[in-house]
C-alpha cells in the first residue's frame, strides 16, 4: 500500500505529464519549433504539421531538383523524418487521451508516451541525417541548408517526454490483478468531443492569431521578422494617409447606405406576411409562398446571371421598354454605375423578401384566434384587426430581427457586391467586406496588413454592436437575443 504522500506526488506528476503531452502535441503546430526546416527554401511559417503532406516539402525544391542542386534522397529523408516525428506526436496525443483513465490506463499511457518519445527521437535522428545530406549536396549555397532551432528543441522535448514517462511509470502503483482498463464517463465524453473542439479551435480561434499581421510590414510570400515589425504604423497610416482615408469614407458611405436601406425597409417582410395572410385561398397562398422563397436558394452568381440576361442590351427589360416606347434605344443597365445603392437593395429584396417573411407567417399562425374574434365582436374591421392584433403579435419577432441587422450594419457580406461590381460602378458598390477583399487579396498591389487591420476594427465594432443590441434587448424586452 503506497503512502498517502507519495500518492499525492504521483497525482501531481500525472497532471504535469498530461499537460506536457498536450503541449508536445501543440508544438507540432508552431513553425518556430519545426525540426524539418532544414533548408531556407522551406517556408519559415511552415510547421511540422504543415509539412506532413509531401507536396508541402517537395514543391519548394522543384527548381533545385531540376538544376541538380539537391538529390532526391535528401528530400525523401526529410519527409521520412517529418513523418516519424509526426507519428511520435500522434502517439503523444494518444498517450494524453489514455492518461485520463484509471491506474491501468495510466500505465498504458506511460508506455505510449515512452514509445512516442523514442519515435520522436528517431525522427529527429533521421532529420539530422537529412541535414547532413543537404549540407553535402552538390550546390549547398543555393539550398541554404540550416540546422533549425526546432531540431534541438524537438530533441529536448522528446527527451524530456521520455524522462517524464519513465517517472510516471515508476511512481504508478501496480494495478490489482483484476483491474480493467477504465475511463470515467466524463473523460470519455470529453475525448469524444475533443476532435470537434480541435476543428473549432483550428478554424475559428487560430485565425485570431493572424491579427498580428496588422503589426508588420508584411507582403505575401515574405516572413514576419523583427525587422518588419512596425507596431501601430498601419493604424496611424489609416487615419493620416489622405488617399486611404478618402477610400474608407467612400466605402463606409456605401456600407451605411446599403445597410441603412435594409434597416429602413426592415418592416417589409412583416408587411408581406400580414398581407399574404389576408389572401383567402389557401392554394394560392401556398403557391405564392413557395415561389417567392425560391430566389433565396439561388446563389448571387446565379442572380447575376439572371440580371445579365434581363438587363443587358439584348435583354428583356430593354425589349419591353423600347417596345412600349418608354425609351428610344436600349442601354446596358448592368454596366452603368447609377443608383447602385437602390439597385443593390432591390436585388437583395427580390432575393430575400419571401424568405424573410416566413418567420412572420409562422408568427401570425401562432396568434390566438380568440383575439381576432374578440376584435370582431368589438366591431374592428379588417385593417383595425391587422393593426391592433396582428402587428402587436409580431413586434417581438420584428424587434429581434431589427437588433440583429443593426449589429450587422458593417457586414453586408461580399458575394452580392463582388458579382455585380465592374469598372464603372466600383466606387459606388464597394462595401466594407468587398473593400477588404479587394485590398487584401484581389488588387494588383495588395496590402495585407492594412486589410487585416481594417478587418480587426470591423470585428471589434461588430462585436460591440452585438453586445449593445443584446443589452438593449434585455433592457426593453427583458430577454436576450444571443
Amino acid at each position: 500500500m503506497p503512502k498517502r504522500g507519495s500518492f499525492r506526488a504521483s497525482g501531481a506528476l500525472t497532471a504535469v505529464f498530461r499537460i506536457y503531452l498536450a503541449a508536445l502535441f501543440l508544438s507540432a503546430f508552431i513553425p518556430y519549433l519545426n525540426p524539418a526546416r532544414l533548408s531556407g527554401l522551406i517556408s519559415k511559417n511552415a510547421s511540422l504539421f504543415t509539412l506532413l503532406s509531401y507536396p508541402a516539402i517537395g514543391s519548394n525544391f522543384v527548381r533545385a531538383l531540376d538544376r541538380g542542386w539537391v538529390e532526391q534522397p535528401a528530400l525523401t529523408l526529410t519527409y521520412l523524418g517529418t513523418l516519424v516525428c509526426g507519428l511520435g506526436i500522434a502517439l503523444a496525443a494518444a498517450a494524453f487521451c489514455v492518461s485520463l483513465g484509471n491506474v491501468r490506463m495510466r500505465r498504458l499511457s506511460a508506455k505510449l508516451a515512452g514509445g512516442a518519445a523514442l519515435t520522436g527521437l528517431a525522427g529527429t535522428a533521421v532529420l539530422l541525417l537529412a541535414h547532413g545530406a543537404f549540407a553535402g549536396a552538390p550546390n549547398p549555397e543555393r539550398l541554404d541548408p540550416m540546422l533549425p532551432p526546432g531540431l534541438p528543441a524537438c530533441f529536448g522535448l522528446f527527451g524530456l517526454a521520455l524522462l517524464l514517462a519513465a517517472a510516471v511509470w515508476l511512481t504508478l502503483p501496480k494495478p490489482a490483478g483484476d483491474e480493467r482498463y477504465e475511463l470515467k464517463p466524463k473523460y470519455r465524453l470529453f475525448l469524444m468531443i475533443l476532435p470537434f473542439l480541435a476543428l473549432v479551435a483550428l478554424f475559428s480561434y487560430l485565425p485570431l492569431w493572424g491579427w498580428r499581421y496588422a503589426l508588420y510590414d508584411y507582403r505575401a510570400g515574405f516572413e514576419l521578422t523583427r525587422e518588419t515589425f512596425v507596431g501601430f504604423r498601419w493604424f496611424r497610416y489609416l487615419f493620416s494617409n489622405a488617399a486611404t482615408r478618402a477610400d474608407i469614407v467612400r466605402v463606409l458611405k456605401n456600407t451605411f447606405a446599403m445597410s441603412g436601406l435594409g434597416l429602413a425597409f426592415s418592416w417589409l417582410p412583416m408587411a408581406f406576411a400580414i398581407f399574404l395572410s389576408e389572401i383567402r385561398f389557401n392554394t394560392s397562398k401556398r403557391v405564392v409562398q413557395t415561389v417567392t422563397t425560391i430566389p433565396h436558394f439561388i446563389s448571387w452568381v446565379l442572380v447575376y446571371s439572371v440580371a445579365f440576361a434581363l438587363f443587358s442590351t439584348e435583354g428583356f427589360v430593354n425589349w419591353a421598354l423600347v417596345g412600349t416606347g418608354i425609351i428610344q434605344e436600349g442601354t446596358n443597365y448592368l454596366t452603368s454605375g447609377e443608383n447602385m445603392w437602390l439597385k443593390m437593395w432591390l436585388w437583395g429584396t427580390w432575393k430575400g423578401l419571401g424568405w424573410s417573411a416566413i418567420i412572420y407567417i409562422a408568427g401570425i399562425s401562432s396568434i390566438d384566434p380568440q383575439l381576432y374574434e374578440a376584435a370582431t365582436v368589438d366591431g374592428a374591421g379588417r385593417f383595425a384587426k391587422m393593426w391592433h392584433v396582428t402587428v402587436p403579435g409580431l413586434t417581438s419577432a420584428y424587434f429581434v430581427m431589427l437588433l440583429l441587422s443593426i449589429s450587422n450594419i458593417l457586414s453586408n457580406g461580399m458575394d452580392q457586391y463582388l458579382v455585380f461590381s465592374n469598372a464603372n460602378n466600383k466606387s459606388a458598390i464597394e462595401v466594407l467586406d468587398l473593400f477588404i477583399y479587394n485590398l487584401g487579396l484581389a488588387s494588383s498591389s495588395t496590402n495585407i496588413p492594412l486589410a487585416t487591420l481594417i478587418g480587426v476594427l470591423k470585428s471589434l465594432i461588430s462585436v460591440t454592436l452585438l453586445f449593445g443590441a443584446n443589452y438593449a434587448s434585455k433592457w426593453v424586452r427583458e430577454e436576450s437575443i444571443v
Binding site: 478554424f203 485570431l208 446565379l302 446571371s305 440576361a309 424568405w355 487579396l441
Partner: protein, 303 residues
C-alpha cells in the same frame, strides 16, 4: 353589428382584396419569370437570342447549347468537384452536427458548459477575411479539395439545432439503453440518429444548398488550381468574360467579327451554365420545401 362570415364584403374590402391579390400575383411572377426567361433563352435559336427577339416564349427550340456544354471539359471537372464537395461536405457536416449536438446534451461531460460556449461563441465573432485566409493557407488547405470540406464540418448553429432537438426527446429512452449496457456510441447510432432524422434532414438540405452555391471559397482559396474551381466559380468567370466583351462593344471599341461571335457565344454559354446550375435546386426544391421552412423556424429557437 356586422354579420360574421363575410358573406357580402363591403366595396372597399373588395378593392383591397383585388389589389392585394394583384400585388402578390405580380411579385410571384417577378420571382419566377427571370428563371423562365433564362430557360427560354438557352433553348431558342441563338441568332434570335442575339437579336433580343426571344422574350416571352421560346422560338426555334433546340438543345445544342446544352449539348455544347458537354464538350467543355473544364465544366465537367467543375461539376464533378461541386458534386463531390456537396455530397462529402454535407455528409460530414451532418454527422458531425449530430454527434456533437448529442454529446453536448450529456451532463456528465467534463466542462460541458464551457465546451458548449466555446463552440457557440464562434457564431458571433470572426477574425476577418485576411486572417482566415492566411490561416487556411498556413494549414495547407489552399489549392486543396479538403479546403472546401474541413473548415465547414463544425457549424455551431447546426449544433444548437441538434441539441435543442435531442433535449426534446424523452430522457428515458436513453437511460434504459444505458441500463441495458449500451455505450455512448451505441446510443447515438441506434437511438439518437434515427430519432433525429427530421432535424438532420433540415441540416442536410441547408448544407447541401450551401455547398452547391458557394463560390467565394473557390475564388479565394483555389486561385492557382483551376481543376478545383466550383461550377459557380466557372459561371462567374464566363459571365465576366461575356460582360467585359459586351462592355467593349458598347464603348465602341474596334471589334472584329470574331469578337462579336465570342461575345454572343459567351452570353449563351453563361446562361446555359446558369440554367444547369439552377436546375438541381429547382428539382429538389418542392420536396425539400417543408424542411426549408422548418429550418428558419428552428432558427428562431435560441441555443
Amino acid at each position: 353589428m356586422k354579420k360574421k362570415g363575410g358573406v357580402r364584403q363591403p366595396p372597399e374590402d373588395l378593392l383591397f382584396t383585388f389589389f392585394n391579390g394583384l400585388f402578390f400575383a405580380v411579385f410571384t411572377l417577378l420571382c419566377i419569370f427571370p428563371i423562365y426567361y433564362l430557360f427560354i433563352n438557352t433553348i431558342s435559336d441563338n441568332r434570335l437570342v442575339q437579336a433580343g427577339l426571344v422574350n416571352l416564349y421560346p422560338r426555334g427550340v433546340h438543345l445544342n447549347n446544352y449539348r455544347m456544354l458537354l464538350n467543355v471539359s473544364e465544366l465537367f471537372t467543375s461539376a464533378l468537384v461541386t458534386a463531390a464537395r456537396t455530397a462529402l461536405g454535407t455528409l460530414l457536416m451532418v454527422l458531425a452536427s449530430a454527434f456533437t449536438g448529442y454529446l453536448v446534451t450529456q451532463r456528465e461531460m467534463l466542462a460541458r458548459k464551457f465546451i458548449y460556449r466555446f463552440i457557440i461563441i464562434t457564431m458571433y465573432f470572426n477574425a476577418g477575411l485576411l486572417p482566415w485566409f492566411l490561416n487556411i493557407s498556413m494549414l495547407g488547405l489552399t489549392n486543396n479539395f479538403w479546403g472546401y470540406i474541413i473548415p465547414a464540418i463544425v457549424q455551431p448553429f447546426n449544433i444548437i439545432l441538434v441539441k435543442t432537438y435531442v433535449e426534446s426527446i424523452p430522457k428515458e429512452l436513453e437511460e434504459s439503453a444505458f441500463i441495458d449496457g449500451a455505450g455512448y456510441f451505441t446510443v447515438f447510432r441506434r437511438i439518437m440518429l434515427p430519432l433525429c432524422k427530421p432535424i438532420l434532414a433540415t441540416i442536410a438540405v441547408f448544407g447541401a444548398v450551401g455547398h452547391w452555391n458557394s463560390f467565394i471559397d473557390s475564388i479565394i482559396l483555389m486561385g492557382s488550381q483551376p481543376r478545383l474551381y466550383t461550377l459557380q466559380h466557372r459561371l462567374w468567370i464566363y459571365l465576366n468574360q461575356a460582360s467585359n466583351l459586351s462592355r467593349l462593344m458598347e464603348s465602341g471599341g474596334s471589334l472584329t467579327e470574331a469578337d462579336l461571335a465570342a461575345a454572343l457565344n459567351g452570353r449563351i454559354t453563361s446562361l446555359t451554365i446558369a440554367m444547369v446550375t439552377i436546375i438541381p435546386i429547382l428539382l429538389v426544391y418542392p420536396f425539400m420545401q417543408r424542411y426549408f421552412q422548418k429550418g428558419i423556424m428552428l432558427g428562431a429557437v435560441k441555443g
